[in-house]
C-alpha cells in the first residue's frame, strides 16, 4: 500500500510551528498516527488526554482503532493533535466565574456532567451551557473583570473523585484557595449593590426573553465543534425547570446555585411578580443573607446526622423530664409592663396619643390609668390572637409605633401603640407578633424575635449612600428588589414593606428559607417558561411559543395573552424537518401544529421538548445513574439517528 504524508499540527509546539508531516498508509489506524506524531514531536509528556481534531470537517477522531481509510482521511486533511480537556471560564448562576478544565471533545451533555461532578451538583441533566450575553456597554468595563476562581488544578472529571465525609469532593480540601471556592459555591452570595443590578442586562419584553434561549449550546455536539475555544466564557444555568429529588443534605451546592439563579431571575425581572411577592422575596433574601453569615454552612455528614438525632433525642427527653420547677416556670408566664401611649383612630379624636400603664400577659394587652391602679379592673383588654401587626417606625424621627388591627365580631379595630425607644419597641413588637400567632411571651422564640426586630431597625439607621459596604448590619433594601421597585420606593419605605413580610419568615432556618424562596418562585404563574419566537404554519405574523415542563403555550406577541395551551401528555409525536427548519407536533384528537423557529434554531426547540419529556421519565426512585442514551435519543435529532 502506498505511503503518503499526513500533516498534523501539534498544539504543544506552538501555533507558529509548521505542521509535522508523518508518513502513513491508508490502513494505519488513528492510534498509530498519534504514536507517530508523538514520536516525531520529540516532546516527552503525558499524552493520554490528547486526541486528533480534523479541522476542515470540524470533527474529532476519537476511535483509535479506526483506520484512516475508514475515517475518510486523505492527504489533503489537516489534523491537529490537541488535549481534550481545556480550561474554560464558567459563569455560575451566582454570577461568579470559575475557571476549570472541561472536556472539549465529548457532547456538551457529557461535558456538563463532568462539570457538575467537579462542582458537586447532582442531576446534571437539568443544567446546560449557553453563551453569555454580549455586553452592550463596552465602554470602560475593565474594572468589571471580576475575580475568577481557579480550580484548573482539579482532577479530570473522567477520573474518580474522592468525596469527603461531608459530600465535598476531596480536592477542594487541598488548599485554602480551593476551599474558598467551594464555600463560594455552597454559600449564597451577599446582596449585590443596587447599581450592579441596575447595570446588568435586563430583558424587558417577551421578545428579549426569547433571545436568551437562542444562546443555548447544542447538547449533542462537542464544545470545539460549536466554536468554543480555550478560556472562553460560558454560562452554566439550570435549563430544565423540573428539579428532581432535591435533598438539602446532599445538594448544598445545587440548592444554593438554584436559589441564586432564582434570585437573579427575580432581581432582573426575567420572571414577573407582583409587588407583594417581591416583598416576600426581598424579606427572604435578607433573611438568607443574614443567616448564611452566621450559620456557616454545616455540611452534614453521617456523623453529624447521628449527632443531630442524638441531640434531638436528648431534647425530647429533657422536655419529658422537666422538673416541677420548669413546669411552674412555663405556667407562670412572663409579662411586660410599661407606660405606653395609645391612639385609636376610630374614635373621632384628633391624633392624640394618651398615656396609660400597659401590661402584656399571655396574648392579651390590658391597660390602666396608672401603675398604681393596675390591680383594679383594666380600662380595656385586647386579645391579640389572630390580629394583624404592622410597624409604623421612623428611626430618624424617633417614632416607634405598632399598628394593630384587632379582629372583633364587628370588624377590625385599629389601634396604635407608641413606644418611647427602640428597646421598648422591639420587646412589645415581638410580643405582639407572637400573640398574633397565638403564642405567648413564654415562647422560646421571643428573644430571637426581639433580636431580629432590632437588627432590622438597624437597617434604617444606615444611610443608603454607602452601597459598597455590605455588612450584616447595613443592607440597603434597594439591593433586595428589582430596579422597578428601586425607582418606585425609597429605601425607608421599602424597609417598612419588607419588614412586614419579614415577620413571617424571621424564624426559619437557612435551608427552609431557601426552599421557601424556591417554592414561591415555582408557584409564580410564569415559572419555568422558555420563550421562543416562532411562526406558525399558515400564519403571517410572529408569535411566541412558551415551553414549560408540562405544556406548550402559544402567546400572542402583541397583547401578551395566552392563546392556546397544549399539554405534553396529549402529545402523540413530534417531528422536525431539518431542511425547512420546521417543527411539527401531533396531539390527541387529530390536532396538528407546525411552526418554524425565528429566534432560535429548531434544534433548541427540539431539545427543549425532548428534554422535558426525558425529565418526566425519571422515576421516583432515586437512582443516580443517568440514561444518557435516552436523552440523546429524545433530543439528538437527525445526527443521533
Amino acid at each position: 500500500m502506498a505511503a503518503w504524508d499526513l500533516s498534523v499540527s501539534v498544539e504543544e509546539l506552538g501555533s507558529e510551528a509548521p505542521p509535522l508531516k508523518v508518513s502513513v498508509t491508508s490502513d494505519l489506524h488513528i492510534g498509530g498516527v498519534i504514536l507517530k506524531v508523538v514520536e516525531k514531536s520529540q516532546i516527552k509528556r503525558d499524552w493520554s488526554d490528547h486526541a486528533l481534531w480534523w479541522e476542515q470537517k470540524q470533527q474529532w477522531l476519537l476511535k483509535p482503532s479506526w483506520t484512516l481509510d475508514k475515517c475518510g482521511i486523505h492527504a489533503d486533511a489537516r489534523l491537529c493533535l490537541t488535549p481534550q480537556h481545556k480550561p474554560l471560564r464558567l459563569l455560575m448562576p451566582n454570577a461568579i466565574s470559575v475557571r476549570l478544565r472541561v472536556c472539549f471533545s465529548s457532547p456538551v451533555f457529557r461535558t456538563v456532567m463532568g462539570i457538575c461532578k467537579l462542582l458537586n451538583i447532582r442531576h446534571p441533566e437539568e443544567l446546560s451551557l449557553l453563551w453569555p450575553v454580549e455586553g452592550k456597554k463596552k465602554k470602560k468595563d475593565k474594572d468589571v473583570e471580576a475575580e475568577v476562581y481557579d480550580i484548573t488544578c482539579s482532577p479530570l472529571p473522567s477520573s474518580t473523585i474522592l468525596k469527603l465525609a461531608n459530600g465535598m469532593p476531596a480536592f477542594y480540601a487541598e488548599s485554602p484557595e480551593t476551599e474558598a471556592v467551594y464555600k463560594m459555591l455552597a454559600v449564597s452570595q451577599p446582596a449585590p449593590a443596587p447599581e450592579t443590578i441596575a447595570k446588568m442586562y435586563r430583558t424587558t419584553n417577551v421578545m428579549e426573553k426569547a433571545q436568551i434561549n437562542s444562546r443555548w449550546l447544542d447538547s449533542s455536539r462537542s464544545l470545539l465543534q460549536q466554536g468554543v475555544k480555550e478560556n472562553d466564557k460560558l454560562q452554566l444555568r439550570f435549563k430544565y425547570y423540573s428539579f428532581h429529588d432535591v435533598t438539602p443534605q446532599t445538594d448544598v451546592v445545587r440548592l444554593t446555585q438554584l436559589y441564586e439563579q432564582a434570585r437573579w431571575a427575580i432581581l432582573l425581572e426575567e420572571i414577573e411578580c407582583t409587588e407583594e411577592e417581591m416583598m416576600v422575596f426581598a424579606a427572604l433574601q435578607y433573611h438568607i443573607g443574614k443567616v448564611s453569615l452566621t450559620e456557616q454552612f454545616v455540611a452534614s455528614s453521617p456523623a453529624m446526622d447521628d449527632l443531630d438525632s442524638a441531640l434531638q433525642c436528648l431534647e425530647v427527653k429533657m422536655e419529658g423530664e422537666s422538673s416541677a420547677d420548669d413546669m411552674l416556670e412555663t405556667m407562670t408566664a412572663p409579662e411586660l409592663h410599661d407606660y405606653l401611649k395609645i391612639f385609636r383612630p376610630k374614635r373621632l379624636t384628633l391624633k392624640g396619643y394618651k398615656q396609660y400603664w400597659f401590661t402584656f400577659k399571655d396574648t392579651t394587652i390590658s391597660y390602666y390609668k396608672s401603675k398604681e391602679e393596675s390591680c383594679k379592673e383594666p380600662i380595656q383588654q385586647m386579645n391579640l390572637k389572630g390580629c394583624e401587626v404592622a410597624p409604623d417606625v421612623s428611626v430618624a424621627g424617633q417614632k416607634f409605633c405598632i399598628r394593630l388591627l384587632i379582629p372583633g365580631a364587628e370588624g377590625m379595630n385599629e389601634v396604635y401603640l407608641r413606644c418611647e425607644h427602640e428597646q421598648q419597641y422591639s420587646r412589645w413588637m415581638a410580643a405582639c407578633r407572637l400573640a398574633s400567632k397565638g403564642k405567648t411571651l413564654a415562647d422560646s422564640s421571643f428573644s430571637s424575635e426581639v433580636q431580629s426586630i432590632q437588627s432590622f431597625l438597624a437597617m434604617q439607621k444606615t444611610t443608603p449612600s454607602n452601597n459598597t459596604a455590605q455588612t450584616d448590619e447595613s443592607i440597603n433594601t434597594h439591593s433586595l428588589v428589582s430596579p422597578r421597585y428601586q425607582k418606585k420606593y425609597k429605601p425607608k419605605q421599602l424597609t417598612v414593606r419588607i419588614l412586614e413580610a419579614y415577620q413571617n419568615v424571621a424564624q426559619i432556618s437557612l435551608t427552609d428559607a431557601i426552599q421557601k424562596f424556591l417554592q414561591i418562585w415555582q408557584a409564580l404563574p410564569d415559572f419555568g417558561l422558555a420563550y421562543i419566537v416562532v411562526r406558525f404554519k399558515g400564519c403571517r405574523k410572529d408569535e411566541v411559543l412558551g415551553i414549560a415542563n408540562n405544556r406548550l403555550i402559544r402567546i400572542d406577541l402583541s397583547v401578551g395573552d395566552v392563546v392556546k395551551t397544549w399539554r405534553y401528555n396529549t402529545m402523540r409525536q413530534w417531528n422536525v424537518n431539518w431542511d425547512i427548519k420546521q417543527v411539527a407536533i401531533e396531539f390527541d384528537g387529530n390536532v396538528n401544529i407546525a411552526f418554524s423557529c425565528v429566534t432560535a434554531d429548531c434544534k433548541i426547540v427540539h431539545e427543549y421538548i425532548g428534554g422535558y419529556i426525558f425529565m418526566s421519565t425519571r422515576g421516583r426512585e432515586q437512582s443516580d445513574t443517568l440514561n444518557e442514551e435516552l436523552f440523546h435519543k429524545l433530543t439528538g435529532g437527525h445526527e443521533a439517528l
Binding site: 422538673s323 411552674l328 370588624g411 377590625m412 395551551t565
Partner: protein, 649 residues
Amino acid sequence: MDDIDAMFSDMLQEMDLLTQSLGEEAESAPLPKPASIPAPQEMNFSIGFTDFNASLHEMEDNDLDALMADLVADISATEEKFATDRDTSKGSAPFAPIPIQPQSNFGLPASTDTSKPATSSNSIAAPPPLPASKPSKEEQEEQIKADKIKLALEKLKEAKVKKLVVKVEIMDGSSKTLMVDERQTVREVMDNLFEKTHCDCNVDWCVCETNPDLQTERGFEDHENLVEPLSTWTRDTENKVVFLEKKDKYEVFRNPQLFYLWKKDKKSQMDMKEKDKEQLLEENFCGASIIVPDLEAILYMKEDGKKSWKQRYFLLRASGLYYSPKGKTKASRDLVCLVQFDNVNVYYCKEYRNKYKAPTDHCFILKHPQIQKESQYIKYLCCDDEVTMTLWVTGIRIAKYGKQLYENYKAAVRKAAGTATWANRTIQASSSASTPSPTPKAKAANGHAPQLPKDTKGPGNQTSFPPPPPSMETLPPPPPDPMLPPPPPDPMLPPPPPAPPASTAKVNKFPPPPRFPQSSFPTPPMDDLPPPPPPPEEAELPPDFLPPPPPSFAPYGGDSLPPPPPDPITSLPPPPPGPQNFASAGGAPPPPPPPPPPPAPAPAAHPSGSVRKMPPAPPKRTTPQQTAPPGGELMSELMTAMLKKRSQQ
C-alpha cells in the same frame, strides 16, 4: 424554700381563678382537704356535675345522656391516671394510702391494672425509687412532695384545655350534641359524628358553620380545630354548626381538570382519563410547591362601604387575590392585591341579591374568621354563575391551605374506604369505642376515645395484652362477662327516671349487628373469645372480631348470657387486662352514670344557638366548660403539700 412558697401562692391564685370560673360549686371543693392525695371520686363527680348543671339545664334528655357518657369517660380517665400515678409512687411511698376501691364503682375494676403499661410513659412524674442508696425518709418525703406538686401542675395544665359543648344540626332536622376538646380536629369530630349518625362515611361529609347575620356558610377543613373558630362567636349568636354533604368539598381531587383546565371546553373535560387526572394532581399537588389554578375572570366587587358593585378583572395567584386596575394590563407588576389569605377565610353567601343588591346570587366573601357582622373589612365578591363561584372558592382554598387540603382528602378517602369494607362491624366496634371506657388512650385524648381508627387498634391490642394468658385461664369460660358491665349499670343508676330510659335509648340506637342475630349471640363469643392463647393473631384482625360486646348490647334480649358480673369482680380481684380491652375496643355500653343525681330534667327551651356557653356565672365568655375534676383534686393536693411543708419548717 422561699421561692417554693412564692410558687405556691402563685398557684393558689391560679386556683382561685379556677374556682371562680367554676362558680357556685366552689364550696364543694373545699380547700382544707387534708385527707391526702386520694380525694374520693364522689367529690370529683359532684364538682363535675354542678359545673355542668347550668348548661345542662338547657339540654334535651338524650343529649344529656350522651354527654354524660363522654363526661364519665373524661372523669374516669383522669381518675385512672391518678390511680396509676399513685401506683407508681407507691414504691417510694409506703404510707401512701390508696383506696382503689372507688374505681369499682364504675364497674371497671380492671382499669387500674391495665392502664399501667400505657401510662407508664407518664410515670416519669414519679421517678423510680432509688434502690441502691436507700434514701432517707426526709428525702423520700421531699421526693414525694415534688411529685405531687408536679402532678398537680400537670392536672392544672389539663384543666386549661378548653372544651365546648356543641350542638350539631343534621340534614334531616335532628341534631346531635357532643363535647369537643380544643385539641380535636374537625376530622376527629366528624369521625365522632359518623358513629353517632350512621351515615355512610363518604368524603363529602362536612362540618359547616352558618352565620345568619351575614348569610354565609363555610365548611371547616378537616385539619382545623373546631373549638377555635367556635369560640369567637358572640354570646348571642345565631350561628349554627351543620353536618352535611357538600360535593364541592373535595371535587378538585376527583376532577382536577375542572379547576386546572377550566379554560378547556366542557367536552374534553368530561372525557378526561383517570390517568390524566392523576397526572394533574401529581403536577399540582405533589411538586415542590403547590400550583394554584390560574383563575382569571371578570367578577363583581362591592366597593368598601358602598352599595354599588363594580366589575373588575380578577386573577388568583398563590400569594393572594389580585385585580387589574382600570387602564392597566394584566401584567403582574400592575396588579393590585385585594387580599392575601393568611388571615382571612372564604365563605359562600346566600341570597345576596336581596341583601346587598348583588348582580347575582353567586357570591362569596373573604373575611377574618372573628368578624361576625357586616363590616368594611369584609371583601364581597360576586360571580356570574355557580360554576365560577365554586371555581374561585376552591381556588382560594387551595391557595390558602395548599398541600394540607390534599392530605385531608387522602385521609378522608382512607376513612371512607375503611368504613365501606368494615361496614356494619365498624359501626359496632366504633360505637362502643365512643363509650367511656377508660382506656389509656382515652386518657391521652382526654376522654375522646373514638378517634382511634381500626388500624391502630391491632397493635394497640397487642401491646396491652402483656400479662395475659395465665390469668385468663383461671377465668370461667366466658371471660368477657366480668368485664361487660351491662347489668351493673342498672343498679348503678340510682337516680331519677330519665336516666335509664335514656341510656337504653342510646343503646338501641346502635342497630344490633345484623350479622349476629340475637339468637346466635352466645356462639360467637364462645368460638372467638375463650381461647386465650391466640391473642396476637386475634389482635391482628381488626377489633370487629370481638363480638362479645354485642351481647352486652342486648342485656334485655340476650338472656342466654348469664350476667354474673358482680361476682367475678369480687372473686377475681386481678381481672385480666384482656377482657378490659374487649370492653374498650368491643364496646360495653356507657358505664353507669355516676351516683350523684343528674340534673333535673329541665324543660328548658332549646335555643337555636348550638354552642352552649358556660354557666352564666363566669365572667369570661371564652372559658367554656372546663372540666372541673382536676381543679378540686388539685387544690386538695396542693394544700396538703403545702401544709406538710409548713410543718416541716
